[in-house]
């Protein structure tokens, strides 16, 4: 095939990119400690003596969690902006950004993880109903 020598050069580049990346992983310290990742990998049957691969898994997990968190943050900010638009109260904007179950479940839905949280717990089916209608 004509693109073979090109692709082989490209492959060399890619190889070097990959190996460079793996080498750079040794300098980068992921937020997830290596011991934790090793423990969970060993539990799942992942056998590898190479530390770089463990770092790779750690970095991949960190990236995933960061993406989920940033998506949730977008939801949170969008919700706050909507509230501000309705009430036209600028003080509302200074409210702290808090990670809530609502935002998290919305962002995880896009990643295929279904985390549906029960909104509240009630003692009986008639909890929260107007007393007048309850008597009926």
């Amino acid at each position: 095939m004509s693109h073979n020598p090109q692709s082989s050069d490209g492959k060399h580049d890619d190889d070097s990119t990959l190996s460079d990346f793996l080498a750079s992983l040794m300098d980068y310290t992921p937020t997830i400690p290596d011991e934790l990742v090793e423990q969970y990998l060993a539990k799942s049957g992942f056998q590898c003596p190479d530390v770089r691969l463990i770092r790779l898994v750690a970095v991949a997990t960190q990236k995933f969690v960061a993406e989920v968190a940033s998506d949730a943050l977008q939801h949170c900010k969008a919700r706050q902006d909507a509230v501000v638009k309705d009430k036209r109260d600028k003080q509302q904007r200074d409210k702290r950004l808090i990670l809530t179950m609502d935002d998290l479940s919305k962002s995880l839905r896009e990643y295929g993880v279904n985390v549906k949280h029960q909104e509240y717990f009630a003692d009986s089916p008639s909890t929260g109903i107007d007393p007048a209608s309850r008597e009926e």
Binding site: G10, K11, D14, D15, T17, L18, F21, L25, Y28, T29, T31, I32, P33, E35, L36, V37, Q39, Y40, L41, K43, S44, G45, F46, Q47, C48, P49, D50, L53, L56, V57, A58, V59, A60, T61, Q62, K63, F64, V65, A66, V68, A69, S70, L73, R96, L97, I98, L99, T100, M101, D103, L104, L108, Y111, G112, V113, V115, H117, Q118, Y120, F121
Partner: protein
């Protein structure tokens, strides 16, 4: 980063409740919670809800586990037991399929230039390094188990030809054989009985001596008339025991005893105790007055 501690609405306290038992994975889970909190802080959050953080920590545990399972599956598929970077890349592509990643639709792509790895490379290059807040010790802690020594180790011959000598040795026969038990007695029962009898004799002797002293006192001090009258009274009442007692006192004193009177009274008492009891009481009272009169007269003389 501060945490807003609100749980699912039940009003329970969080993991600080003393009623909750410690689970095996608690250490790993608590580390993951700290990791997730750090990541959220780097993203821009200023606070978190406890339930949300726990859910995200669960995800941060589940993701590498799933990745590892996938990678080991691919390695096994290729006939290997140890995973390499391509197994991980395939596993990442599998997990990223639902979300979509650039180059997913292309077939025959070499894994070396996988877009997912490029994405990770970009992430590493752009993102600031956030090391874990505290040093983590190596876990899980492996404890050296005390193994049962083998037959060879104990220099014992296995009790059967079918048992190889490198297997752990059988327990000693005294652990499963029922042997008679001898109860160690601290005291000797014979010696105890002897001691008890000795004490009884001692007590009886003391009592006898006391009685003798008492009798002596009575004999020397009380007048003769009183003793006679008292013995008659006891006879009439039917108290032959006390009557004999007083009689013996008289004998000791060397006084004359009216046998016929005493025997008759004893016979009467045995015949009808009740009547005599009543009679005796009336007689007693009359005789008591007579006695006092007699003693007064005797003193007078």
């Amino acid at each position: 980063m501060s945490g807003v501690k609100t749980t699912g609405g039940k009003g329970e306290d969080g993991p600080s409740s003393s009623l909750e038992r410690a689970k095996a994975d608690d250490f790993g889970r608590s580390i993951s919670k700290i990791v997730v909190a750090q990541i959220c802080e780097s993203v821009g959050y200023q606070g978190y809800k406890e339930s949300a953080l726990e859910a995200l920590a669960d995800i941060s545990i589940w993701y590498p586990c799933d990745l590892a399972k996938n990678a080991s599956f691919h390695a096994n598929l290729a006939g290997r037991t140890e995973c390499n970077v391509f197994d991980i890349t395939r596993a990442l592509e599998d997990l990223g399929d639902s979300h979509g990643f650039p180059g997913a639709s292309e077939t025959g792509n070499c894994l070396v230039d996988s877009c997912i790895v490029k994405g990770i490379t970009q992430f590493v290059d752009t993102k600031e390094e956030i090391p874990f807040a505290q040093p983590v010790p190596k876990f899980p802690v492996v404890r050296n188990e005390k193994l049962v020594p083998s037959f060879k180790h104990m220099n014992e011959a296995p009790p059967g030809k079918h048992i190889p000598s490198w297997l752990p040795a059988f327990p000693d026969p005294h652990t499963y054989n029922h042997t008679p038990m001898w109860t160690e007695r601290a005291s000797n029962p014979c010696a105890d009985k002897i001691e008890q009898a000795r004490r009884q004799i001692k007590a009886e002797r003391a009592l006898l001596r006391l009685q003798q002293r008492f009798v002596l006192v009575v004999c020397t001090i009380l007048p003769k008339e009183a003793i006679i009258s008292d013995s008659i009274i006891f006879l009439l009442i039917g108290d032959s025991v006390h009557a004999c007692y007083w009689k013996s006192m008289l004998i000791m004193r060397g006084e004359k005893v009216w046998h016929w009177l005493s025997e008759t009274c004893a016979l009467l008492s045995y015949m009808s105790v009740g009547f005599l009891f009543h009679l005796g009481f009336t007689v007693f009272f009359t005789l008591a007055t007579v006695e006092s009169l007699v003693s007064m007269i005797a003193i007078g003389y």
